[in-house]
Symmetry: D3
Subunit: 338 residues, 6 copies
């Protein structure tokens, strides 16, 4: 039943209402999220059997996170309970020229103190086809990094495809440490996902500057080419975000495979909530891969799914396959569905 | 005192807050609305004596709907009480590429079981000048359709102008049935109002494709021409919506009269709530007609009134004559009114 | 510690939630604001010692206003207590073609009945460098106007720089009275701040119409030139707002000094709340002046600060020096700050 | 259609949510209320034709108040528009040992500046049977007091029963002035309503202290006896409140008629909102009188109606005749009505 | 894994906030509930494997109900999808002398149109130990009643214990029909649960009036005795509610077994939400039975669990075994758990 | 200006709305609180100059806490900034038999990592008269305990009165460690405050069981006597809470001085929020001591102040001297203050 397994941290998300700054908020909206949990939920929404593995303390907050995941159809049976606190983050939504602001309070969280051996990976991966993780998990500490490697090895042993979203977070570790740890984990990765900055931040890989009108596109192709050459990925997918403002973004993506780059349609997005945008792209990509779509359709799917995410409040991409399909087919009109 | 009478269904409207999807909503915002009630409220806001006729059960929900209508100045004295439930609909507001979603729960509502003879139409129309209905009412069932005809006959007997908004709802009836029923009701109609798709959906009338740069405009004129020829309307009004996204629409309208088409100014709208947009257009048109405005001013008024509706939360168009006039005169600046 | 003193009225601000019209609001959001308080808060947020002087009654509402100001770092120790009511205003936020609406209920407020001699201005100004007031305060009544003059004289005596924001409010007084009163107060003013209409409304000063493509810019320069000639200001700053709609504005500003006009960058703003926009410009200007910035940087700073204000709910500009600096340096991307 | 007319002030009511103190409230709940409006709404809820007369400014707030009254079935057609502001009051709900707190901001309200002759009382009273006012209205100023007298004279001329609720408000006038003004107005009053303190506050009438176990009851009977002797009332009704705490009250009432005192059942009330409790008693009494109930049933009805009011949020007593009847009959069980 | 199966209707629950009457509610709080779903959730909260069987349409509202149930740990895999609407009910919470009010809108719901054969009961009951239903389900229509019988037969075949809560709802069917249908279904029931009125409403069974001080207790014992004699139940459990007011109830229960009556402790309850109180009693009883507790402990457990339910908002009893145990052991102090 | 200094941790307080359990909360109400901050705020509300010393990280959350404290009149100028996180706690309000639940997430908070020497205590205490701390602070870790001692020594050097609230928290440390650390800190303490359990939990001091009807009172007197003998306190104050349920408590207190016990009036409290009840007692006691009240009046004042706290939402006791005085004088009627 479970086709995809993801591993990482799920946090409480405490967001100010509307556009209130932290100091103005009489209350904080409570939901849950985290890169890998977001991918699992997105896949479960698409009807894909998805399991999310993490470590959470035994308290009501963690119970709430698990109940929501389970309600959304995610298999939570492999979550390890222990530790003393759940990570959390505070979110203030920006608008126009004012950026959104995220304040993390995740140090000492249960998963940051997870130990090698506490998850029975072979059992987790039984019957599964895909393992996904992001660069946030190894950044949480040496133990989580070791568990990622442990999981990767088990996943390869079990014949799973492994995807990783580079997801560099400068507050969690230095570029040096990221390069060292991620560099060694890349050997297990089949599909590498990144945003336009990750490759440079972690691996120092910058696209060549070309003197033509298509310069930007070529830059990203060059980054994908270098990543592929260096780590032997089967596919490299890159999200392409134009940040016009906190209220409006351009959004697209590229999939590089067999030395060929496939660019998806471009969307002009009025933003409701962009946190989790990259995760919804990864989920769309995995969904499309599991359906056996060819490269162009894969990236179109991933970009459409994640374009829709920007219109959803919360980390999780609560959209259906049908809604993504409609957008892929070109209906971006937003006409009322009665 | 009552100049305009409308007849149809008013429903509870239960909307998720902000941009929340149904599954995310801890509560639903409660208001009331429905095509013909929306027109009555809009006219009452403009200071026109308006009565709304419907059938509602005897319960607190229906009492709430009536109290709100009465508070807004609508004459509710002819509302028939009976039946066991009030129709309702659930609304989820879309954004950007994600469409708004409406889920109706109106089957077996009180008005769908109304019987011919239960409204004393001659008394209702006493002293009135105008009767308005929409294609939703006959779509609710054979009895409502018969009551619409009963009302139309009484209205014509009493010398009222009759307007109808075609308003095709594919979930309520088939195109075939709609054509048959609406076709026979059209004989009582003086002014036909439609959006860009209704005429084709119900009557199979498509505008001719013309090979010029003004192709779209000509298409709508052609539709109006065909409608007029087929049914002998005095005027045909068509709303022109460009759905760029769920957050932004283009909006205008056309009034066809004496073989002449009058196009209104075009508005670029940042959408707050577009449900009831068409109804506010109809109300603007009726208001303008009652004032004796000539065709161009009529359509300008209707389009300005309905442009403003898109900025109002809820089905009802809560704007004043003064606000519409200001927009007609060209002040779309949105400057703070102190 | 206190570098800047402002004097005027702070009101309760009672705003409908979201885009609700007054008649739709089950509750009103409570905050506080007023031109000169807004400037003081903005400066305190920038780390500048700021004191706000006003007169407020002894009741819980006024206590709330003072507590918030003090919490935000404003010195409230010179506020005079007395009178029977606190002014208030009701706010309904507009969108797209529908304008925001402000209804004032400030007559008979404590400050409108302030008396000359009730503030010990020499003590207030001890150690300070700047005094700021706006055209709203003298418009509140003859006594407040007299107190403004009293304060101006004391400020000049103490060697402070005096800035005034013309801020014409037509509901508070006639153009004639405004010209008379403001005209005589201008003699104390070093830096005059105005929006694009104030100079004409109060002093009848219109920019010359020039037959060139840069006509608008020249118009404003001409206004500043005339103001300077007539009143001998050291600097004249003008905010330049393009009201595309209630949801979107163009925003910039100009600083005229030594017969030279300095125009700031232009911002395209998606509006969250534009009340207090002009005040945040004044605060930015004062901050920049206190830092000793030269003219171009001053106006860039003021425009960037006030561009950000449009993204903040409430009258007060809750942004930091760092946030303004980032925008001045060109980062308007709104990318998430993690 | 209109049987009962009431005259007085309706205010905006701005209440903190839950048990929040003023300084804690991020928003204020908006509703409307005022002694005489409360009586009119209560009667309209009971199905009695009720008109409310007042003076209100022409603005959105006043429009909102009128719309709500009209929606609740109150005739608002005689409301005079004019003046510059609507009175308002701030409410903080107490609990246990902490009292609720009301801060009025009603000086200079439209009705306080009403002029004799501005209401066409003979037309207002056409067809009516009852006129009700409270001691708050003459306390608003000399003009309102004169209009009350004008109304009383017209009411007596038209053969109406006149009831007055003494309702002494110490912040509005002195005891001396109250005695003078109210004393002369009492000549028009048939039925006098008071709480346990009003008679002493206004007229200095205290019940005799009797040395028996039924001392309290006798005290109130004595007060009623004295009031009747002094002013010749047909009936005197007194509400009997035991304030155990802000969360729990004892509640009952007494009706004195033909030298006979009738005490109603006693209720032990868990309080939701006690503002408007006395008004709901008056409305219950008037309803019962209009039904021709004898004295005991009248006071039982009035006390039951007002007991229920304490469970309703807002000034208005939103209960039905059926609900009051059930309570009069003895069902105070609060069992779920399915 | 699944030990207990329940079958019935789950509805949307739309409740006014706080103590607002329907006409005052700007929004309705959304949750889900229904007798048998409530029992399943309660058991899942206690760690018992519980499955809930129903029929729900394919729409977002039903998806929401299922997701919540699944999140709470209930097995929803046997829910049949089909039909056009989900039942719903509106709730207004009472206080003091004002009763709570429930308005059902459940006619034509998906489950009311369920057909015999649509649930594979033998598969559902595989491995289970208990089947629970209530008198509401057969009251929904002849088909649901037939499916209850179909389920009962399958349950008995599979060796399950069958419990039924009589739960008479007078708006759903007549006493006559209830007696006929319920009478024939009783033959499958091992444990009969009822409140103090059900037995009389459905079966006309009243306790004998005995002339002693323990009259009430004896009455209930007599009812249980008669029920047992007539239908051969192994156990009869009766909830004992004293409705002092809508804010305060007395609460206890009795379990009759082997001609012996066991009364539980009595609780004095300050009510937060009493909807679902009876269901939480049933769930507590089933839990205790599954643990093999003897009669006295069973009823203590059921009463304690349901006492706690009255403090929880919503239909579902969100308490843990530990919390119930603490109360059973006597800690009703409500001291803060830190 | 500063008379009283308190030292400890202030946390974010994230509370579910109404009576919602954690798993039901769509949002959490944000405020701030902590034993010693609560005392400082309470004193500032009484008009006493109060300073609160703590260590907080440099982030928006901590800024919010400081701004609120400053707004409430507390001197925050000695707060040390540093560390990476602010402690927080989650609160779920109980009702009736269900207890409130507090989940702390305060490990690794900034203050738990404070270092000796980081606060300039002599400067802090300049001009002050009183130093107050609670048993929570030394429980946060060895460093905080050392800083408490450092502060105590400086306080005694500066001639301040030192009060300590024992406040045992079993989740923060063991009884053994508490006894050791607290035991050695007691030497600096003049006034010891405790609830009915602290003395036993920390020092193993239990009152003697006496065979009389006044057993409980005597028990507490005995505890105070032993504490005094063991540590030489000038005064021992004990809060006396009767936990009837989470909704209703009995409340009183005792002050032991010169071998004499003074018991205050007893209050029956309907609870709004009892978190911070003990702190408000301490603040009342300190206020009364600073006024020079004799023992009986001191304890009456402390008990009345803290009785009122139970009616206030949030940790802070937002009441005025006037309100406490009224209650001390016997007005517990909760009558509306107009």
């Amino acid at each position: 039943m479970v086709e995809v397994v993801t591993f990482g941290e799920v946090m409480m998300r405490l967001a100010t209402p509307g556009f209130a700054r932290f100091a103005q908020a009489p209350y904080l909206e409570l939901s849950y999220g985290g890169g890998e949990a977001n991918v699992a939920v997105s896949l479960a929404n698409f009807g894909v059997g998805a399991a999310f593995v993490t470590r959470l303390p035994k308290n009501d907050m963690a119970d709430g996170a698990i109940a929501e995941l389970r309600g959304l159809g995610v298999d939570t049976s492999h979550i390890v309970r222990g530790g003393s606190r759940m990570g959390l983050y505070f979110l203030e939504s920006g608008a126009s020229q004012r950026a959104s602001k995220v304040i993390y309070d995740r140090a000492h969280s249960a998963i940051s103190e997870i130990e090698v051996g506490s998850v029975d990976w072979p059992r987790v991966f039984q019957g599964a086809r895909w393992f996904h993780w992001t660069g946030i998990t190894p950044a949480l500490g040496d133990e989580p990094a070791a568990v990622v490697e442990e999981a990767c090895i088990a996943a390869k042993d079990a014949g799973l495809t492994v995807s990783a979203d580079l997801n560099f977070r400068k507050k969690l570790w230095s570029r040096d440490k990221a390069r060292r740890v991620m560099g060694s984990l890349m050997e297990y990765v089949d599909i590498c996902i990144a945003n336009e900055e990750d490759a440079e931040s972690i691996f120092g890989i910058k696209g060549a500057e070309v003197n033509t009108g298509v310069i930007e596109r070529e830059t990203y192709v060059d980054v994908a080419r270098q990543l592929t050459e260096q780590f032997g990925f089967k596919q490299v997918a890159i999200t392409l975000r134009e940040s016009f403002s906190a209220s409006r973004n351009g959004w697209s993506g590229m999939l590089y495979q067999d030395k060929q780059a496939h660019f998806a349609q471009h969307y002009d997005i009025t933003i409701v909530d962009r946190v989790g945008g990259g995760d919804s792209f990864a989920a769309g990509l995995i969904y499309a891969a599991l359906q056996g779509y060819e490269a162009q359709r894969m990236v179109e799917w991933a970009v459409a799914a994640s374009a829709l995410k920007h219109t959803i409040t919360g980390d999780y991409n609560r959209v259906t396959v049908e809604e993504v399909e409609n957008l892929v087919k070109g209906d971006a009109s937003g006409r009322v569905q009665r």
